[in-house]
C-alpha cells in the first residue's frame, strides 16, 4: 500500500513538474526537416515535438491519438503548408480544441510562405498520380528555401514570444550565415557534376536538383505515388543506359530492392539518401549535417564513375 502511494505520489509530482515548466514556446512540428530548422531558430527558448519520424514516409504518417494531446498543448504548429501532411494532419487538427493553432492564428505557421513552389498543377487529375494541388511539397531540401523558412520562423516565433524576439532573429541570422557559407562549399563540391543525371524513386528531389544543377527526370515510379511496374522499369533501364545515368537515390522508406534490381541491370550505384535529418546514418546533427551528407555521398557516387 505504501509503495503504491509512493508510486502515485512520484507520478503525480513528475506530471506537475512536466506541466508547470512552461518557459519559451512549446512547438509541435510535423516533419523532422522543419523541426531541425525550428531548432536552429528557436534555440533553447523552444521545446519541440516532432510528429513524423525521420525514416518514415511523410505522406503516410498514422494520425495517432497521442499526437492530438501534443497538439492540444502546443503554443504553435509548424507545418509545410503544401499538403505533404494532408493525409494525416486534418483529422488530428479536428480534435485538438486548441485555438492557438487554428488556421489564421499566429500559432499556425506555414513554412511554404514566400517559397517559389515547383510543379504547381494547372489541372487536377489523379490519372497523373498523387499530385499536390499546391505544387511539389518537398521544398525544404533546397538550402535557399531553408533560409527563407528560417527567416519566416524567426518572425513567427518573435510574434508569439516577443520577449525572445531578438534571440530568434539572431539565431536565424546565424543559421543563414552558416547556410551561405556552406552553400558555397556544397555548390563547389557538386560543380564538377553539373548536368549529371540522377535517378530517384519518387519525384521528391526537383528543388535539390535545380539548386545543384543535377538532372533528375527519371523516376522508378511511373507517376507520383504509383508503384513501379515492370514495363516502366524496363523503360527506365533503357533510358539510363542511353543517358549513361549511374546513380539511383533511395529514401529510407522506399523499396531499396527495386532500386537494386535496376542498378544491377545498368551498373548503377544505389545511394541511400533522406530529406529528413536522421533519416540516414550520420545526418542526426540536423539540416546542415544532412546537406553535408547528401552532397558528399552524391559527389562520391558521381565521381566514382568518371
Amino acid at each position: 500500500m505504501k509503495t503504491l502511494k509512493t508510486i502515485f505520489g512520484a507520478l503525480g509530482g513528475a506530471w506537475l513538474l512536466a506541466t508547470s515548466v512552461q518557459a519559451g514556446l512549446n512547438l509541435v512540428v510535423t516533419t523532422p526537416d522543419l523541426a531541425s530548422i525550428a531548432r536552429e531558430v528557436g534555440g533553447s527558448q523552444v521545446r519541440i515535438t516532432t510528429l513524423a519520424r525521420p525514416t518514415e514516409d511523410p505522406h503516410f504518417v498514422d494520425a495517432k491519438p497521442s499526437f492530438i494531446v501534443k497538439l492540444n498543448r502546443a503554443d504553435a504548429l509548424v507545418e509545410g503548408g503544401a499538403d505533404l501532411e494532408v493525409g494525416w494532419l486534418p483529422p488530428l487538427l479536428a480534435g485538438t480544441r486548441n485555438h492557438k493553432i487554428q488556421s489564421g492564428q499566429p500559432g499556425r505557421i506555414l513554412c511554404n510562405a514566400g517559397i517559389a513552389m515547383r510543379e504547381v498543377p494547372t489541372a487536377l487529375t489523379r490519372a497523373e498520380g498523387d499530385i499536390h494541388p499546391l505544387g511539389n511539397p518537398h521544398y525544404v531540401i533546397d538550402p535557399v528555401n531553408a533560409k527563407i523558412i528560417a527567416a519566416h520562423l524567426a518572425d513567427a516565433f518573435a510574434r508569439l514570444d516577443s520577449a525572445n524576439a531578438a534571440a530568434y532573429h539572431a539565431n536565424a541570422s546565424k543559421f543563414t550565415a552558416t547556410l551561405d557559407r556552406k552553400l558555397a562549399e556544397w555548390t563547389a563540391e557538386l560543380a564538377p557534376f553539373k548536368g549529371a543525371r540522377v535517378v530517384s524513386y519518387h519525384k521528391s528531389w526537383p528543388y535539390f536538383a535545380a539548386r545543384f544543377g543535377l538532372q533528375m527526370d527519371l523516376f522508378l515510379e511511373p507517376k507520383p505515388g504509383i508503384p513501379p511496374s515492370p514495363a516502366h522499369l524496363a523503360a527506365v533501364i533503357a533510358r539510363m543506359k542511353e543517358e549513361n545515368a549511374r546513380v539511383i537515390i533511395v529514401d529510407p522508406y522506399l523499396n531499396r530492392k527495386t532500386a537494386e534490381t535496376v542498378a544491377r541491370s545498368t551498373g548503377a550505384t544505389v545511394v541511400d539518401v533522406a530529406q529528413m535529418p536522421g533519416g540516414v546514418k550520420g545526418t542526426e546533427g540536423g539540416y546542415v549535417a544532412l546537406l553535408d551528407y547528401l552532397v558528399q555521398t552524391l559527389a562520391q557516387a558521381l565521381g566514382a564513375q568518371k
Binding site: 505522406h59 497521442s66 492540444n72 486534418p90 489541372a123 489523379r126 531578438a166 527519371l218 523516376f219 529510407p252
Partner: protein, 506 residues
C-alpha cells in the same frame, strides 16, 4: 545618476542594434527575393533547353514554377478538392458481387444494412461526403448515402450531418446534428473504411443494420492526462429505425426471420414520443491511447448505450448495452505508403434488454378474429395451442464479440481474418414451449428466438489497393447458425474514390 546614464546609453545602444538588425534583415529578405526571382528565370531557361524527358514523366504544363493562383470565374468548371474551395467534396462508390449458399442473405447471414444483400451484384453504397470550415468557430460535415436495395429500389440515407465546435474552453468539444453514436470502433466508421466487406455480427445484432445513429448532440472532453484520454457523452433521440435495440420500429432490412416474428416474440409499441429526458438515448464512452513503442500504438475504449426500448405496451422498459474495444497497430519506422503494418481490433458487447409484458390476445377475442373456434394463424399460443400466449416481463441478456487481424504484407496488399460470435442466454419465453398457430388448433413449436440464438462466423479476406483511391477485396464467409446450419459465401468488393479523401481517424 551614473546608473541612469548607463541605462539610457544602453537603451540607445540597444535601439541602434535593433535598427541595424532590422536593416540587415530587410537586406537579407531583399537578397532572397532576388535569388528567388533569379531561380525562376534560370529554371525557365534550363527547362526550355533540357532534353525531352521520359514519356511517362513528361512534365505537363504543370511543372512550371509557381504562378499566381488563377481566380475562379463562374464559367470555370467547379473543381473538387483542397485549396480554393469552401468545402471538400468526396464520393466513394462501393459495390459487391458474389453468392451464398444461404437462402436468407439479407438480414439473415448478412446483418449489416450495407452488406452484400443478394446473389449477384449489390450496390453497397455510394457515399458523398462534404466537409469544411463553417466559420472560424464551427466546422461542418455531411455524409449522404445513395444505395439500391435488393428489390432494385433506390434510396437515400442521411448517414451523418453535423456541425462541430473548433475551440471551446476547457478542452471541450460539441458535435450536434445527425450523428453516429460514439460506441466502440466500427459504429463510428463509415463502411468504406472497414477492413471487411460486411459489418460484424455483433454490430448488426445489437446496434442495428445501419449502425446506431440518430439526431442528437455529443459532448467530449480531452482530459489533461499525459496520455490520450477522452470522455464522450452522446444524447440522442431513442426512436427511429437507426436506433435498433431501443425504440426502433422493429424493422430488420426486409429480413426473413424478422418478417415472421418480432424480437422477443412480442410486438413493439413506438408512438409514445418523448415525455421525459430519460426517453432519450445516452451513450457515454471513455477512450485512452498509448504509444507502446515508436512503432506500436494501443487504443482502449469502454462504451455504454442506455435508453428506453419499445418492447411491450407499458413503455417503461429499457435497454442497456455495454462494450469494450481494443485496437493495436504496428507500423515499422521505414513504412512506405503505410505498408507493411499489422493491426488487431476487437470489440465485446453485452446487452441487457427488458422485454415488456405482452398479451397475444390483442383484440380480447381469444386470438380468434375469424370466429372458427381456433386461434388464428400467425398468432402465438401457449403450449396447449388453445389460448393466445401471454408473455411476462423479463430481462434477457445477450453477448457477442468479434476480433479481426489485418496484415498489410506488401505495398497495397492486405490479408485479413475475422472471427464473429453472438449468443444469448435462454430466456423464459424461449422455454415456455410456445407455438406459432396454424389456424386449425395446431402450430409450429418455437424454440430459441432467431434474433438471439447463437451463431458464429469466420471470414478470411484479401484486399488489393492499386492506390489509396481504389480497392478490390475478396472475402469468404463461413457462417454457422445453430438453428439453420452452415453457409458459405464468397464476395468480391470493388470501390472507387473521387475528389477529396477525408483522412481517416486512427
Amino acid at each position: 545618476m551614473v546608473g541612469v546614464t548607463v541605462l539610457i546609453a544602453s537603451a540607445v545602444g540597444a535601439r541602434e542594434t535593433n535598427e541595424i538588425e532590422r536593416l540587415q534583415r530587410e537586406l537579407r529578405e531583399l537578397r532572397e527575393k532576388m535569388q528567388s526571382l533569379e531561380e525562376k528565370l534560370n529554371y525557365a531557361a534550363t527547362n526550355t533547353t533540357s532534353p525531352a524527358p521520359l514519356e511517362a514523366n513528361r512534365p505537363t504544363p504543370a511543372s512550371a514554377p509557381a504562378t499566381p493562383a488563377k481566380v475562379w470565374s463562374p464559367s470555370d468548371p467547379l473543381r473538387v478538392g483542397r485549396g480554393g474551395v469552401y468545402a471538400d467534396l468526396g464520393l466513394v462508390g462501393t459495390f459487391a458481387v458474389g453468392g451464398s449458399t444461404a437462402k436468407d442473405i439479407e438480414g439473415g447471414t448478412q446483418l449489416g444494412g450495407h452488406d452484400p444483400n443478394q446473389n449477384g451484384f449489390t450496390v453497397q453504397g455510394v457515399e458523398m461526403n462534404l466537409q469544411g470550415a463553417v466559420d472560424p468557430y464551427l466546422r461542418g460535415n455531411a455524409n449522404l448515402l445513395f444505395s439500391v436495395d435488393s428489390g432494385g429500389e433506390s434510396f437515400l440515407e442521411l448517414e451523418e450531418a453535423w456541425l462541430e465546435t473548433v475551440t471551446l474552453p476547457g478542452d471541450l468539444q460539441v458535435r450536434a446534428g445527425q450523428l453516429l453514436s460514439a460506441f466502440g470502433r466500427v459504429n463510428t466508421q463509415h463502411p468504406h473504411t472497414w477492413g471487411f466487406v460486411d459489418a460484424p455480427l455483433v454490430n448488426g445484432r445489437f446496434l442495428g443494420a445501419d449502425g446506431l445513429r440518430n439526431p442528437g448532440v455529443r459532448l467530449s472532453w480531452l482530459a489533461p492526462t499525459p496520455f490520450y484520454s477522452e470522455l464522450v457523452l452522446g444524447i440522442q433521440d431513442s426512436h427511429g429505425e437507426t436506433a435498433a435495440g431501443f425504440r426502433s420500429d422493429g424493422h430488420t432490412h426486409a429480413g426473413t426471420v424478422g418478417d415472421q416474428l418480432p424480437f422477443g416474440y412480442r410486438h413493439a409499441e413506438n408512438d409514445r414520443g418523448v415525455r421525459h429526458v430519460t426517453d432519450l438515448l445516452f451513450t457515454p464512452r471513455y477512450v485512452v491511447s498509448f504509444d507502446l513503442t515508436d512503432e506500436q500504438t494501443l487504443v482502449l475504449g469502454a462504451s455504454g448505450a442506455f435508453g428506453p426500448n419499445a418492447s411491450g405496451s407499458r413503455g417503461d422498459t429499457v435497454t442497456q448495452i455495454y462494450g469494450v474495444d481494443l485496437y493495436w497497430k504496428w507500423k515499422p519506422a521505414r513504412a512506405h505508403a503505410g505498408f507493411p503494418f499489422v493491426s488487431f481490433q476487437a470489440e465485446a458487447l453485452v446487452r441487457r434488454y427488458q422485454l415488456g409484458e405482452f398479451d397475444w390476445d390483442e383484440q380480447g377475442n381469444g386470438g380468434d378474429a375469424d370466429g372458427d373456434g381456433f386461434v388464428d394463424a400467425g398468432c402465438l399460443t401457449e403450449a396447449t395451442g388453445l389460448t393466445p400466449a401471454v408473455l411476462a416481463r423479463e430481462t434477457v441478456t445477450d453477448y457477442g464479440a468479434y476480433a479481426q487481424l489485418l496484415y498489410g504484407f506488401r505495398r497495397g496488399w492486405v490479408g485479413g481474418l475475422r472471427l464473429d460470435y453472438v449468443a444469448g442466454e435462454r430466456a423464459a419465453y424461449e422455454r415456455a414451449g410456445l407455438l406459432l398457430a396454424d389456424g386449425t388448433g395446431g402450430g409450429t413449436p418455437l424454440g430459441r428466438d432467431p434474433h438471439r440464438d447463437a451463431r458464429w462466423r469466420l471470414s478470411p479476406n484479401l484486399t488489393w489497393y492499386p492506390t489509396e483511391f481504389s480497392k478490390f477485396r475478396l472475402q469468404y464467409n463461413y457462417d454457422d447458425r445453430r438453428a439453420r446450419g452452415r453457409d458459405h459465401s464468397v464476395w468480391l468488393q470493388f470501390e472507387f474514390l473521387l475528389g477529396a479523401h477525408a483522412a481517416h481517424q486512427f
